[in-house]
């Protein structure tokens, strides 16, 4: 612990007060006036303080310990030592614990008793000490690279990657078929599924156009079931448009569009147009 180095600096600023103390007092003070940064938090400080009681951690007097801690904090305050908030929180809590331990239990009061709280604190101290001892035992073990050693020239395991290629008879047949057609082989039916041809559109429109005495959006000629799927809708729209042009060319219909992107409309050409 970094107690010693900071002791001196602390003591210099501590001057006057020390002069008033007896030697014994001063010794005690020196033991406690330490660099707060040297502690790993309030629990660590409590553990250090508990050592002065020189008893089994299970038999420690929490009351006495609380008083020691409070004295320490008091002293640090006199030294105008900046204490971290958690040290002060612990001080407040210990003051509360002290009062609980000293006063007869108030039956109306909720929450754990002073004894329970003290027991838990004792447990925490014991556990922290146990972990420190365990850490020390761990670090004292024979260690790799210090006491025992691994192979000095490890041999690398060479990774041999073997790639095997494979193909199926179907791959072979498809490959050959592709060559014989000079075109990418694609299943036929899938392709035609969402294609609406102009011939089909023409046939459909010829049947319906007789009823189109008024201007009608060509989109109303899309076959049933082709309006929703975007692929089908595109194909049917294109085919219907092409069929409309064809009908216009044949002189069967008039076709118009009021502006760009406006609906394209057709109307039957009839007697009144002659």
């Amino acid at each position: 612990m970094a107690e010693t180095d900071l002791n001196q600096t602390l003591q210099m600023s501590f001057g006057d007060e020390q002069e008033e103390m007896s030697v014994a007092e001063r010794m005690a003070a020196e033991a406690l006036i330490v660099d707060v940064d040297g502690f790993e938090g309030p629990l660590d400080l409590l553990l250090t303080l508990s050592r002065t009681q020189k008893v089994d951690l299970r038999k420690i007097s929490i009351l006495e310990l609380a008083q020691q801690y409070l004295d320490f904090v008091e002293r640090a305050k006199r030294l105008r030592l900046e204490l971290a908030a958690d040290y002060l929180v612990m001080a407040a809590w210990l003051a509360f614990l002290k009062s609980r331990l000293l006063l007869p239990p108030d039956p109306t009061e909720e929450g754990p008793s002073g004894e329970e709280l003290a027991a838990h604190l004792a447990f925490q101290l014991e556990r922290l000490q146990a972990m420190r001892d365990a850490a020390a035992k761990l670090m004292a073990r024979d260690r790799l690279g210090r006491d025992f050693f691994a192979r000095g020239v490890p041999e690398n395991v060479e990774r041999v990657r073997k790639v095997t290629f494979t193909a199926t008879l179907l791959d072979l047949m498809q490959g050959y078929a592709r060559l014989r057609t000079r075109d990418e082989f694609r299943p036929f039916i899938m392709d035609r599924d969402s294609v609406f041809t102009m011939e089909e559109a023409l046939e459909r429109m010829r049947g319906l156009i007789g009823y189109a005495g008024a201007w009608t959006d060509i989109l109303s000629y899309l076959p049933v079931g082709w309006e929703n799927d975007p692929k089908k809708r595109r194909s049917a729209t294109a085919a219907t448009f092409a069929a409309s042009l064809e009908l216009a060319k044949e002189g069967k219909v008039f076709i118009r569009q009021s502006e760009t992107f406006a609906p394209i409309e057709v109307r039957k050409r009839d007697g009144r147009d002659e």
Binding site: E40, M90, A135, V157
Partner: protein
């Protein structure tokens, strides 16, 4: 220490042989030969090697686990030992001969007290959350401390705790076991005594105790210690 191997061997062998009869045209090499193979594999590697990896590298039908039993015995009392490191095996020089080795080894960064304590807490309480570590140490754990241990590959993230917030846990690694010459976390010094004394329990504090840790997190993590006991029970 090798009970776990012996225990599972008989069945393993039966399975192996059945598979073999179907799959392999060649008989597995004799056990003495398998032992040589394990010896060469372990000898050549600075890192521990798992039984599975050995089996993968050895010819079909070999049983590295069995060969290891023989190999280990052969190296008993020698200048080099066959040691178990977690699920894996390694060859290491005998610790009593450390004085012979040139101390040219790179001086490892000295671990801070905080790092050493954090490491011990993780080893003994694993899987453990950051909040639990803080509860035990009574002080918040700095990022740097955990990062250093992660970087040294002595700890790694374990599975998340099934508590509110699902906090991550830390566990020790194979490198940790290797470094400290432990064949399993169960071999940690004093583990049994600590457990018997109840010092590895996560005892919830009566009411709220302000031990420098954000207590809300504590409540989450604290309740459970199944994971920890699981880890060490066999």
């Amino acid at each position: 220490m090798s009970d776990d191997i012996n225990a599972s061997e008989p069945e393993a062998e039966v399975v192996e042989q059945v598979v073999e009869q179907e799959e392999s045209l060649f008989e597995a090499p004799p056990v003495a030969e398998q032992e040589r193979m394990c010896e060469a594999i372990l000898f050549a590697s600075a890192e521990p090697v798992t039984v599975k990896e050995m089996n993968d590298r050895m010819p079909h039908g070999c049983d590295a686990a069995e060969a290891l039993v023989h190999l280990r015995k052969r190296y008993e009392g020698r200048g080099v030992h066959v040691v178990k490191v977690g699920d894996a095996w390694a060859m290491r020089t005998a610790a009593d001969l450390g004085f012979l080795m040139q101390k040219e080894t790179v001086e490892t960064r000295k671990l801070s007290r905080a790092a050493v304590e954090t490491l011990a807490i993780i080893a003994y309480h694993q899987p453990v959350t950051r909040a639990e570590i803080e509860e035990i140490r009574g002080v918040s754990v700095s990022r740097g401390t955990v990062d250093q241990l992660l970087e040294m590959e002595w700890i790694r993230f374990g599975r998340r705790k099934m508590t509110p917030g699902r906090p991550v846990t830390f566990v020790v690694t194979q490198s940790f076991l290797d470094h400290f010459g432990l064949s399993s976390p169960r071999d940690l010094p004093g583990l049994k005594e600590l457990r018997a004394a109840g010092l590895l329990e996560n005892r919830p504090p009566p009411g709220t105790i302000p031990l420098g840790v954000n207590s809300d997190e504590d409540d989450d993590g604290m309740v459970i210690d199944d994971g920890q006991s699981e880890m060490f029970e066999d």
